[in-house]
């Protein structure tokens, strides 16, 4: 955490304290049998040189697209497929 952010990760630092939409590479994830495409929104509260953290972390589950996960969530940068600044209240088709 103490490390300053290197230039190559500046694009993540630019998102700090902003709301973003974030999508991971994998096809689907699974929490206790509930599957979902890895699409998240939320505010970036932490940027390191390896991962970023969203708090709140909203999982866009297909049946509950505004589900706020009970903890913040961190995402290794290497698994992120895309991100963009995003109003977390916007409704998105998910299929």
């Amino acid at each position: 955490m103490a490390d300053p952010i290197i230039e190559e990760n500046q694009l993540f630092l630019d998102m700090l304290y902003k709301n973003i939409l974030l999508v991971l590479e994998c096809d689907q994830l699974n929490i206790l049998g509930q599957t979902f495409r890895p699409i998240f929104t939320g505010k970036v509260v932490e940027v390191t040189n390896g991962f970023i953290t969203l708090d709140p972390a909203i999982i866009k589950m297909h049946n509950a697209p505004f589900y706020k996960f009970p903890t913040p969530l961190s995402f290794p940068m290497e698994d992120i497929a895309l991100f963009t600044p995003f109003d977390p209240n916007r409704r998105l088709p998910l299929v």
Binding site: D3, P4, I5, I6, E7, E8, N9, L24, E25, C26, D27, Q28, L29, N30, I31, L32, G33, P38, T48, N49, G50, F51, P70, T71, P72, L73, S74, F75, P76, M77, E78, D79
Partner: protein, 106 residues
């Protein structure tokens, strides 16, 4: 800090940004041994909640409390850190990872 000095600090040859990012995630787990962590991976068993035991190269060893599969609770898993899609480490003062094995009646 520039990429080269961070590489050096992490013990990585030649400023490979991908390697650096992975190393920083590994370090995060290493720095938080003994804490509870929640990990989502795409492969089976998808969800692992447990205590970080140690980090061995790019694997994190977790003493699992809970997974999606009850038969795998309480196993010690070595998880390839590069396959971790999402994680949360419960550091002091941060929100608690709920225990799904508790009885809930609220």
């Amino acid at each position: 800090m520039d990429i080269n000095s961070l590489s050096k600090q992490l013990g990585i040859e030649g400023g490979d940004i991908n390697a650096i990012r992975q190393a920083v995630v590994s370090r995060e787990f290493k720095d938080n041994k003994g804490q509870r962590a929640l990990i989502l991976i795409a492969p089976y068993p998808f969800l692992i909640i447990g205590t970080i035991f140690e980090v061995v190269s790019d694997y994190v060893v977790i003493d699992a409390q809970v997974t999606n599969i009850s038969e795998l609770d309480d196993e010690r898993f070595s998880i390839h850190i590069d396959d971790i899609e999402v994680f949360y480490i419960q550091k002091p003062g941060r929100p608690e990872i709920p225990d799904i094995r508790k009885e809930h009646h609220d």
